[in-house]
Symmetry: C2
Amino acid sequence: MTALEKATLESRNKDASARFERYRGRNLSLDMTRGKPSPEQLDLADDLLTLVQGGDTKGEDGTDLRNYGGLAGIPEARRLFAEYLDTTPDRVIVAGNASLAVMWDTLANAMMYGMPDGDGPWKDQSPKIICPVPGYDRHFAICERLGIDMINVPMTEDGPDLEAVKALVADDASVKAIWCVPKYSNPSGEVYSDATVDALASIPTAAKDFRLLWDNAYSVHHLGEGPAPLKDIITACEKAGNPNRPLVFGSTSKITHAGAGVALIAASPVNVEDHLKKISFATIGPDKINQLRHVRFFKNMDGILAHMQKHADIVAPKFKAVDDALEARLGGTGLATWTKPKGGYFVSVDVVDGCAKEVIKRCGDAGVKITPAGATYPYGKDPHDRNIRIAPTLPSVDEIQTAMEVLTAAIEAVCTEKLLKG
Amino acid sequence: MTALEKATLESRNKDASARFERYRGRNLSLDMTRGKPSPEQLDLADDLLTLVQGGDTKGEDGTDLRNYGGLAGIPEARRLFAEYLDTTPDRVIVAGNASLAVMWDTLANAMMYGMPDGDGPWKDQSPKIICPVPGYDRHFAICERLGIDMINVPMTEDGPDLEAVKALVADDASVKAIWCVPKYSNPSGEVYSDATVDALASIPTAAKDFRLLWDNAYSVHHLGEGPAPLKDIITACEKAGNPNRPLVFGSTSKITHAGAGVALIAASPVNVEDHLKKISFATIGPDKINQLRHVRFFKNMDGILAHMQKHADIVAPKFKAVDDALEARLGGTGLATWTKPKGGYFVSVDVVDGCAKEVIKRCGDAGVKITPAGATYPYGKDPHDRNIRIAPTLPSVDEIQTAMEVLTAAIEAVCTEKLLKG
């Protein structure tokens, strides 16, 4: 380091620390940890609450939706969400209020009973799942809980590093699946390219029951430019001769009401039949009345798209506030790089190696909660201690601006300190 | 058999067979298989559908119930259903739309991770569960699916045969639980006596993590005399020094809407904490909006009781139609005995040994669907082939009268045939 570089770092550190201390004195209480919709976003769907009333509770086929039954979901919901997931109604199951539960059920049942095409319960096969990193903490928590080993592979701007994936799946039949958030990836925002989709559909795998855990959580969750195109994985896998490879997950949690939406799984008829058999021991059917509310509210895919444009109008300024603050405070400093997503729920910031934990700790001291360091990596271990996930949807623009002042000051202070220590 | 007895049987058989044939010619299509509420019962709760509207979605503590969170259920629902289950709110979790799912989660997680006080995952301990018979087919299906062995014990009018239970649990630590439907038992209608409750709470068990799977599905589901008293199992177990023994399940499936209600689990604080940890991997929270609908609809326990009186008014005549038909056609014949429940969803009929399967087959031939023989026993095997479960709630009184004519004719024809063959 030259004397000039050192002096610059020292000056930046002093400035940033002073800024940070001023905010620390303000007893802030801001939360940027979770990808929750804001009240204004939730308001957009309030009309659905009263769309099913007494005397009007029958489905299109005459079924009384208040009673038991309907394990796969109501036909009109399967049709609507088939359009949403780019597939056919017979390939869609509409479930309860959380796609996380569907993913848990899928993997817990795979551990206990295996998957079609496979050699029995995964628990007897030392199963491993590939995890593009950074990724979604709740995916990782399911694997860790179930005793499924996780193997990190890096993300590229087109999706997971395909050479790394190919090498892992080629010879090892215990590598059973890969987690994918193919559009506006959590947390780094990438959209998988057509070439990535085709490769994942066709890569030869030693495991006969290899699965793409395709969590299309943000299919229509754009920031103003409309949903990014994403090649249909179900058709791609069929064409590649691997029809049972994809398990597509989705939900309306970030479309209607986060706690009172409907969840989805789409897959080949073989997988659908297998999933229905597995869940038939645990439930007689999902809340079909809530499915009817959703169908009546959206009517069709155009309804969903028009609705998501309203979300974009609310959310986009928040993402802009995050990016503006990062540019204004850290642009050109070399202390951080960050994503500029076109959709989804997160901005991912990489700071100087070895600094993320300390940055997040200091933010906490100043009353700004940031997702714990490491959360975006399997086992909570970011090998470089550099990734920070920002969730801008819940706070207001004002709150984001304040929180980002704290975060950027903390980043600048901690990273310059680190660089000065060498 | 005397000549007179033989002649009487032959005459009865001829009459019954002729009656049966007349009905068989009528192309009936009647379904007495499942304990589903009727449309009239479901109508009683229709007002709840519109009790939560836009602008009015906050809980009593100010939480926006449209958003994520609230793993244990909303406080006001925990309070209401604590009253319903005769316990305290901290001992209650209010879940999604099906108690079956809660029971599945409980046992699947016990298999994978064990239970408080125990020695680890049940799957490593050759677990066995005691099943009072006849009982509920879906309980048995969960056990069979999870690989938990089932051991039959007979029911008495006060509950399970306690001497049989005591002998099974005394020395064998692999006997992990007993299924109980303590009020208006499914299908035979018994209400557990106080002495049975106290005994189950206090019996010494070799398994340190022995559990009472207390499916109080019909807590308030009486037929006109008000809910039968049932001693509180949670307090009884606490007093007996076994606070973690009971796991109480319940739901509003047969109170509000069968497919869109809320499910409940009540247990000791240790069990509640354990259950919440287990489900935290699978869900961020239940549908809290639907919980709010339920709280607003009932307001308090008096609201639930008043509501269930309306159910009784609808359901009681249907049970009477079943009993009237059985008395009229089979009373004093010695061909069948049956229950006269004060609540619940079923009438249980025992016919001459070795006849149930054939009776149900013949009813099917005549267009009257009856729950398959053996369904009320573990592994679908009724050792005496004599139990028939009748579910009178869904059909109309007219339909029940017709179905019962077919069923009683089939019983009389098949049983007299059997007795004549000797």
